[in-house]
Amino acid sequence: MNTYEPNERGYWGEYGGRFVPETLVAPLDELTNAYFGYRDDAEFRRDFDLLLKDFVGRPSPLYFAERLTEKLGGARIYLKREDLNHTGAHKINNCVGQILLARRMGKTRIIAETGAGQHGVATATVCARFGLDCVVYMGTEDMRRQELNVFRMRLLGAEVRGVDSGSRTLKDAINEALRDWVTNVNSTYYLLGSALGPHPYPLMVRDFQSVIGCETRGQILEKEGRLPDLLVACVGGGSNSIGLFHEFLNDGPVRMIGVEAGGHGSELGDHAARFMADAAAVGVLQGTKSYLLQDEAGQISLTHSVSAGLDYASVGPEHAFLHDKGRVEYVSASDEEALAAFRMLSETEGIIPALESSHAIAHVANTAG
């Protein structure tokens, strides 16, 4: 059995690692030691599980999408309802785990980046819950298209700082959060929102999100008496997808597909599909080595997607590894396909999905029949 654990330097095969300025090495060591100290600590697990249950509202249902199944006329389709979590997305799972860690580490100031604003809202929420200062960096383009989440973060007492550099999206927000962290290392905990960044973040975020797959496994066995044929999830940084997939990686017959943002074209700059054949190249960005959209000179390319949460030039390193191993397949759905799926799910199931998740629905719609 493969455990899909990275090595002690945070590498899955050639992907991952820790590519940061020297100033951040000590705080990352501190974080790694703290995380490994609590990872299997009974009390920590108990606090985590309790908050997931009573604060987040877990377990989230595994819902049989009856009308969608009928409409597509093929596979029986289930939806793992992470949208029913407190604050409306899976992001809160990771935030609960990391805030418990930050508190045990004695940190008093929390910073985060956000794209769609879901991670920012989830971070602001756990900070309010524990009375900690919260600063969220967000690209000004994302602030414009996700205005409601900016309002929610401020209501929760967080300071939202707009980032005007680069493409004014998630990548630029992460740069700014890293700059803040490097400047305020002693007091500050960086609560990163996806399975990205330097070791130990990709591992830690995956662990906290794997509650999704653990629940799904039990639920599908109960409902269908068997494992699923196929798992489909959207891949931005890769946290909801790795959270779902991880528990099934050793179940040989279970196929898995990660859906990236196909944007509005296949030229560099028109999409955020890191694994798309023509564009696929390995590089180093924001602390990790992975697939990375970049030009010939190694400059990071701009990306495009209707969904702010998928609009990112790189992808979590474990996905890069699973891609190369062939354990998970990666495809993309275009803006247009995602928007059509968004409408279809709303109309057939009475469930309005996030634009991010709509990419996964789009792939299901295209292939389930």
Partner: protein, 269 residues
């Protein structure tokens, strides 16, 4: 002999301390950058740091971010910076150190970079976001071509790490004066002196201090305990201001350096 070592030896013999200016290559354009470097050398620079522009400079403050952005708008690549270095090498013996993030180097290929940089007359490379084993691997490749990988240390660097970094370093050690990004700052950091003292326990290599140094007083303060002072954002900002005001940036840099290093005479070479 290695130009970095011989320059520091010369400084020591003359009882002087070093001045290491940073120039963001290609801002406002490659030709002006070249002239700025030559002016800096004429006016007392002991080593030149040449910044390779990168789209996502996470360790830089707003000044150098904007400067990299301007260089990228001009289409400047690592290849251009190497060509610029080769051109400079025909005119001066000043040690040249490239200052870069990893991805442009990684994309170019580290082996190929080591060959081409050595051919261009580059003396060392500083990679902002490579540490530990990753840095050691790059250092090995560079060293085979006679290049130094300049190591960074920071106030947060633990004793164990200082020792390890010192062991694998060559050329000189770059001590980051404070936790933070690049950018001019008014007060002199007090953490830098302690850091330099700590690293001296483990190495005889020269130690340069940088990040936030922008005034004559700060340079002189650094010279009391370190071997050289690095000045980056203060020069980049001066160039930006003068370009915007349509004043010759080369002249501005010459004046700035005259103000930063009042007693400095042109070093004899």
């Amino acid at each position: 002999m290695n130009r970095i070592i011989s320059n520091f030896d010369l400084l020591k013999a003359e009882g002087r301390k070093g001045f290491i200016p940073f120039v963001s290559a290609g801002d406002p354009n490659l030709e002006t950058s070249r002239q700025i470097v030559l002016t800096l050398v004429e006016n007392g620079a002991d080593i030149i740091e040449l910044g390779v522009p990168f789209s996502d400079p996470m360790a830089d403050g707003p000044t150098i971010q904007a400067s990299s952005q301007r260089a990228l708008k001009n289409g400047v690549t690592l290849k251009d910076v190497l060509a610029m270095a080769a051109g400079l090498r025909t005119e001066t013996d000043v040690p040249l150190v490239l200052f870069s993030y990893l991805n442009p180097l990684f994309r170019y290929g580290i082996e190929r970079l080591a060959d081409d940089a050595a051919d261009a007359g580059v003396d060392g490379i500083l990679v902002t976001d490579a540490v530990d084993e990753e840095a050691a691997e790059i250092a090995d490749v560079l060293r085979k071509n006679g290049l130094d990988l300049i190591s960074l240390i920071a106030p947060t660097t633990t004793e164990d790490r200082l020792k390890k970094i010192a062991e694998r370093s060559s050329g000189f050690i770059y001590a980051v004066s404070r936790a933070g990004v690049t950018g001019a700052q008014n007060e002199t950091s007090t953490t830098a002196e302690a850091l330099v003292e700590r690293v001296r326990e483990y190495t005889d290599l020269p130690v340069a201090v940088g990040f936030g140094i922008s005034t004559r007083e700060q340079i002189e303060a650094v010279w009391c305990y370190a071997d050289a002072a690095v000045v980056g954002s203060a020069i980049v900002v001066e160039i930006e201001k003068c370009v915007n005001a349509e004043i010759d940036p080369v002249k501005c840099v010459r004046e700035l350096v005259g103000w930063l290093l009042p007693q400095r005479q042109k070093p004899e070479r």
